[in-house]
């Protein structure tokens, strides 16, 4: 591809350029930040939205999907936000802290700021950090995807988000749910930074509630997991919507750190969940799980790059996809092993179950290994429900639909069970059942 070739702008691209002109004055940040925004927008202007000729977006053509770009969602008020948060059914009655970001703006009044502070967790506005001299640190781009188009789109328009910083040695006693809320239609560009000090431990639940109308949701999570710290991030990407749902994780792991994540997709018309995981210290471990369910015309994309930049780290990637109707599933996973990253242990598996003739799965597991003393494996399968298993269950009196549900649930549960965060296991399995009941 010739990156310099002039492109015919799509409606969405033109909309984005004018969106920038109309909203730039109200977007937060110092001069440095403004320069970063302009550079990011310049990238969109010159190259367009990420499309199928860009390798990383070959199967998820955002440019073709976005017919237009709605304006950014306006500021919201407390009462409206409260109403949406309280009507949300995310993790039922699970005992948890709550941190709320509405239309891209941190809502301290609706967040458990004081209780968290008492535990050693500071929670504050991301937007406020953009005024500082070193604000450019806050708008990180992934080391293994410095020119990613979705991150650029986020940088250009980011309105805010939240910073959650866990003090060294603090094991947060219950999960923190970071709820992102839409109280009115419109696009959202949100950044959240989650920092764990040395030896800290946290289970973060990431949810989204509300309706963005035709506006895309673009959220970047920047995780910094210090030495000996442990972070689990459960991300729910659910709810019916026709607008794009774009999620990016940039994780940086210290030494002897643990990071695990589960990305759960069920419902949106177009979901991209991309994760960039970087091992910066030795003897660390990353376990990345994905559960995707897509029906109708939905597209569910799980993309990740795990960068073994240092020796003696283990990573496990385990992704499950169930597709129905004319849905499309995408898995792109790459494990990079740097020349000196000896004793790396990486194991990647992606499995898809196709419930219809017209569903389509693109599985692309990749290993890029430059070290010679490593254990790395990858695998990919796509198949249909095993008729013999189905018959066995039916021969025991279980009706066909129920038997299928049991088998699909069993298929997806393998990843949910291995993720092994008991607080969410049951809730996620209920969501799988609900999705199946509606398809």
């Amino acid at each position: 591809m010739n990156a310099n070739a002039p492109i015919q702008k799509t409606q969405a691209e033109s909309d984005l350029l004018s969106r920038f002109e109309t909203t730039r004055a109200e977007l937060p940040g110092s001069v440095t930040v403004t320069a970063l925004r302009e550079a990011a927008l310049g990238q969109i202007r010159d190259r367009g939205l990420p499309h199928r000729r860009v390798e990383e977006y070959k199967y998820s053509d955002l440019r073709a999907f976005m017919k237009s770009a709605a304006p950014l969602a306006a500021a919201t008020d407390l009462a409206a936000t409260k109403a949406v948060v309280e009507s949300a059914e995310t993790f039922g009655d699970l005992d948890r802290y709550r941190v709320v970001v509405a239309n891209g703006v941190f809502q301290p009044e609706l967040s458990d700021v004081d209780q968290l502070l008492a535990e050693g967790v500071s929670v504050f506005s991301f937007a406020d950090t953009l005024d500082d001299a070193d604000a450019s640190q806050m708008l990180k781009t992934p080391k293994t995807g410095p020119e990613d188009g979705v991150v650029a789109l986020n940088t250009a328009f980011v309105r805010g988000g939240v910073v959650i910083a866990v003090k060294s040695g603090v094991e947060v006693s219950k999960p923190i749910e970071l709820v992102q809320v839409a109280t009115s239609a419109g696009a959202q560009a949100v950044r959240n930074a989650v920092t764990l000090g040395e030896g800290a431990k946290l289970h973060l639940l990431e949810t989204f509630v509300g309706d963005t109308g035709a506006g895309e949701l673009n959220t970047v999570f920047d995780y910094n997991v210090s030495d000996k710290a442990s972070l689990a991030a459960t991300r729910l990407m659910t709810g019916k919507t026709e607008a794009a749902r774009l999620f990016t994780s940039i994780a940086t792991l210290g030494a002897e750190a643990e990071f695990k994540s589960l990305g759960f997709i069920a419902g949106p018309r177009f979901t991209r969940n991309q994760q960039f995981v970087n091992f910066a210290g030795e003897n660390s471990e990353a376990n990345i799980y994905g559960v995707s369910m897509a029906g109708g015309e939905d597209l569910a994309d799980q993309t990740l790059i795990v960068d073994h930049a240092v020796p003696h780290c283990n990573s496990r990637e385990f992704f499950k996809t169930v597709l129905d109707g004319r849905a499309k599933g995408v898995y792109q996973g790459r494990i990079n092993v740097a020349p000196h990253a000896q004793k790396t242990d990486g194991e990647m598996m992606t499995q898809a179950l196709l419930l219809s003739e017209d569903a389509e799965m693109a599985n692309k597991p990749e290993l890029e290994i430059f070290a010679d003393d490593v254990i790395c494996a990858h695998g990919a399968t796509s198949g249909q429900i095993d008729e013999d298993l189905l018959f066995y269950l039916r021969a025991r009196g279980i009706p066909e639909d129920e038997a299928k549900t049991l088998l699909v649930l069993a298929f997806l549960s393998e990843a949910i069970e291995e993720y092994d965060e008991e607080d969410v296991t049951e809730g996620l399995e209920t969501r799988v059942r609900d999705w199946l009941a509606s398809h």
Binding site: R394, A395, R396, G397, I398, P399
Partner: protein, 251 residues
């Protein structure tokens, strides 16, 4: 209880004819053994009774307690009281054995218009039956049949049968892959279920199983037809002389 009339069937995919006119009547309280050489159609008959759609019935009918069995879905047949103990029970990763048992029992109860079992009642029944069949709690916690030995799988089948309390049990080569001790445990499990209200069809190659589960009637199946019917002494005769006489007779 079961009446098979002039049943002809073939493999749906390639139209190979397997059953060529089977007539069989099984009354409540009776145990029928069906013996025969490899390829005679024994397993096909059991799959057709259970409703596997790999086979196509081209002629004849099957009545189960007066109802047309061939019109029913596999799960409807099970709820109506038919149970097939599989020759090769399937492994289902991700489905816990306990969960499976509860789902199956309650699905059948629901189909019959009965209330779902309470958890304590369900547990009580499972524990009782499992103890008799030497099925450990550890096995019940594992995914269904996953990592079970051949004997464990067959005991798991008989446990399911005991819990589901079917009217007609079809045992497809339940003795295959069993050592002497396992054979005894499984046979005792089956014999416990013998009752005047229940019928059984025991499909086997060997006389051995019939020493433990003594049949009322023995049929010899060859090339898709029942070529000889007799009492339990017929099994002994087959053990001594082999199937050669009957294969020729059918040809």
């Amino acid at each position: 209880m079961l009446e098979i009339k002039n049943l002809h069937a073939r493999i749906a995919e390639d139209e190979t004819e397997i059953l060529r006119g089977i007539d069989l009547k099984v009354n409540a309280g009776e145990v029928h053994a069906i013996m025969g050489p490899n390829g005679s159609g024994k397993s096909t008959l059991s799959y057709i009774l259970a409703g596997k759609d790999d086979y196509e019935v081209t002629e004849g009918e099957i009545l189960f307690n007066g109802e047309n069995l061939l019109d029913m879905e596999p799960d409807e047949r099970a709820a109506a009281g038919l149970f097939l103990a599989f020759q090769y029970p399937l492994e289902i990763p991700g489905v816990a054995t306990m969960e499976f048992l509860k789902t199956a029992m309650n699905a059948q109860r629901k189909a019959r218009g009965e209330e779902a079992l309470s958890i304590p009642e369900f547990m009580k029944r499972v524990k009782e039956q499992a103890a008799d069949l030497n099925v450990s709690m550890d096995m019940l916690k594992r995914p269904l049949n996953v990592g079970f030995s051949g004997g464990e799988k067959k005991r798991s089948e008989i446990l399911q049968m005991s819990l589901l309390e079917p009217k007609l049990c079809v045992l497809d080569e339940t003795d295959s892959g069993l050592d002497i001790d396992a054979l005894r445990i499984v046979s005792e499990g089956v014999n416990k279920l013998r009752s005047p209200e229940r019928a059984m069809i025991v499909i086997t190659h060997y006389q051995r199983l019939l020493d433990h589960i003594v049949p009322d009637v023995v049929h010899v199946l060859s090339k898709g037809r029942i070529v000889k019917t007799g009492g339990k002494e017929l099994a002994l005769e087959l053990e001594k002389n082999g199937y050669a006489d009957y294969i020729d007779a059918a040809a």
